[in-house]
Assembly symmetry: C2
Homo-oligomer: 414 residues x 2
């Protein structure tokens, strides 16, 4: 089945927002094996939208529209598409009830133009909007499926996942299911990972194995297509085992995991508290960890000891060390971790000191990073040479730090 | 002049990236008064791209292409477009020299497929690539302008600003210039700002005044269109003065400024050093400040005193205060700022303590934030009640903190 996505909204053509809806939908359709061949964007203009619909009808089996389902005069997607297929709009009672309930909760009267949002194209399968008022819909005409979604991502995304994907999967004539699992790696580059798995990647067509590098991390998506979910999971599991056998030490998580979410989880699991002493990462690790709700159970706190003064005066690093070895050194990284652990009475502490650039520090080159880990049983220091922009180096140093902590926690448990 | 943008790249159709190039170009074209009526995305497929070109030729005066200018077999944009207009490709000597110089710097031999990147459509105005190898180009055929750009934003964005925009402006028959200035606000909401300026916003057509809310901040873009840059700047300046008269106290910066970049600049200007004590913002302020290269000149360091223990043991807040008033209190915010200032021998210190959610803390509601500022002359504490998600509250608390610091620095100077 060939699909295309048409986004309706002048704000996109003015560059006020990026078309992240097309990205979201494309990603979801790729996962279930539906090919997307075109994206288009058009403004709130009925004639130009109708022109795009005519073109799309010549080349696609599924046409997906986003935006233009709201209550105002600008919102003309469903009216225009209904006209293109010679159908009328009818009021959907469930949607109307939801709109009335929304205004009742708010305690304000419903204005007449909101009634428009409950209209759907006749013969539609209606997708409820669990996070807003305008429902989505799917309707068939001359063998082509038209799917319409509201523009706000917080309404569209769950509607697409919960209602539209099952609808689309039910269309598939071979009634096969497509299942994916993402393996998340750290501490290994994309090219080395690919090298170690190249025979698997080249040899497999079902499940497919797709590596992707993003945000200084590498992921592998395993996708299986078969007739039951259980069989798909078994197929995935078999490939996963082989990948794990070869490069399992670099896998830190799965699907929606992040290094910081896994780290907070592992600390909770082990009943340990963490403290930090960050220099060149400037608070980034702390920021990532405190993004996770409930991190206060395991995160005691941290220092951003950005200057020598902060390292010595606030953190309590011996000034003899910073003077003898420099602030960017193995010795100071180790002392920073020990001090953070002691001062905050934490079970485990992580330190990062290094040169994020653009300038060098104390003659040390940009990208030189030392990471210290202090535990009950002693200290370890890792030395890294990273390249890239200031921001890139900060991000990778932060992620390496969390990765080393994770390894420590896994070792400790064993 | 009507323009449209065609992005070429299968990675867009797979949802691996969003079409931020179309957003960037649209924004730039809107600023100079060129209407963009369509965006399209197509994969690395010559026949489908040629189909889109044919459609575009029927409806646009300017067709802008992004992506597909690289060295590999997948890259087919210029070949396809040349074929559509019956032109050939010729080697551009400047581009070839740049590519050779690139490989010479690297010390690696140039592979033959890189030579392809120096090819341009015959008769093109060539846009040099200051951040990569493939040049951009503009070529005219049957009254339609075709502009081609490389896909990576770090190559496209400066090329578009520095070479393509002047080219496009030179096409404009009325030879008018369009100039914009962005005013950046903090401490005032979009609706209140609009209320205070509604007569100006409604009454003006040139310059136009456009408010926009984004990332917990409000901006106003003033855009003037006239025959010289100087006149445009004068027109903008006149409106700006009136806006400043009404809401000037909330303006913190202009154009590409951010709260953290302005803050680092003001600290440098005043020769002051800063330290931080963050609780609910979890290191976010520190992270933002250390994003700015050279921030180590003014940023001494900070604490992420996430727990009571960290506030008392590491930062040195009097435990009698945390016990009597709770960690989320005016008194503790003030003490945190004083301790951060003293411990790190800084000239000025900022503290944030509060409840980012999702749970309450010590019976204090989600969104209750106290911000402390300690200077040579004493301490101030600000109390805020914010709403939204955990991340939104953290971001707004961080930005309010930096805004209060900025106000302090401006007052100190006066």
């Amino acid at each position: 089945m060939k699909a295309e996505i048409i986004a309706v909204g002048t704000e996109l053509l003015l560059g006020q927002i990026a078309n992240t809806n097309a990205q979201f939908i494309s990603k979801k359709l790729a996962e279930v094996g539906i090919d997307v061949l075109y994206h288009s964007v058009v403004g709130d203009n009925a004639a130009r939208l109708a022109g795009l619909v005519e073109t799309a009808q010549q080349r696609s089996d599924i046409i997906i529209f986003t935006g233009g389902l709201g209550p105002t005069k600008d919102d003309l997607t469903k009216e225009t598409i209904a006209r293109c297929m010679g159908k009328t709009l009818v009021e959907n009672s469930e949607a109307m009830e939801q709109i009335l309930a929304f205004f009742a909760r708010r305690g304000t009267p419903m204005t007449e133009n909101n009634r428009k949002q409950a209209l759907v194209i006749e013969g539609s399968t209606v997708f409820p909007n669990d996070h807003g008022m305008a429902p989505g819909m799917a309707v068939e005409s001359s063998g082509i499926r038209y799917l319409l979604f509201p523009g706000p991502p917080k309404e569209l995304n769950p509607m697409f996942e919960n209602y539209a994907l099952p609808y689309l999967l039910s269309l598939s004539s071979d009634s096969q299911v497509v299942h994916s699992k993402v393996l998340r790696f750290y501490g290994i580059g994309e090219s080395l990972l690919e090298e170690k798995l190249i025979d698997l990647i080249d040899g497999q067509s079902n499940p497919t194995i797709a590596p992707l590098a993003n945000e200084a991390e590498v992921t592998i998506r395993i996708t299986a297509k078969t007739d039951t979910t259980q069989k798909a999971d078994e197929m995935i599991s078999e490939v996963e085992k082989e990948i794990e056998r070869r490069v399992g030490e670099f896998i830190y998580g799965y699907n929606q995991d992040s290094l910081h979410s896994v780290l907070v989880g592992k600390l909770k699991e082990n009943g340990l508290t963490l403290s930090l002493a960050e220099s060149c990462t400037g608070g980034l690790i702390s920021h990532l960890i405190t993004n996770i709700p409930g991190s206060s159970e395991v995160y005691a706190g941290g220092y951003v000891s950005y200057t020598e003064k902060a390292k010595v005066q606030a953190l309590g690093v011996d000034p003899a060390l910073t003077q003898k070895y420099g602030t960017v050194s193995e010795e100071v990284a180790s002392a920073m971790a020990v001090q953070a652990k002691t001062n905050m009475s934490a079970d485990i502490a992580l330190s990062v000191t290094g040169v994020a650039g653009p300038g060098t520090v104390e003659g040390k080159p940009v990208g030189q990073i030392f990471i210290g880990v202090a535990t009950a049983t002693g200290e370890k220091v890792y030395s890294l040479k990273l390249s890239g922009t200031r921001e890139g180096i900060q991000l990778r140093a932060a992620k390496y730090g969390m990765y080393y902590l994770l390894k420590e926690l896994v070792n400790e448990r064993n």
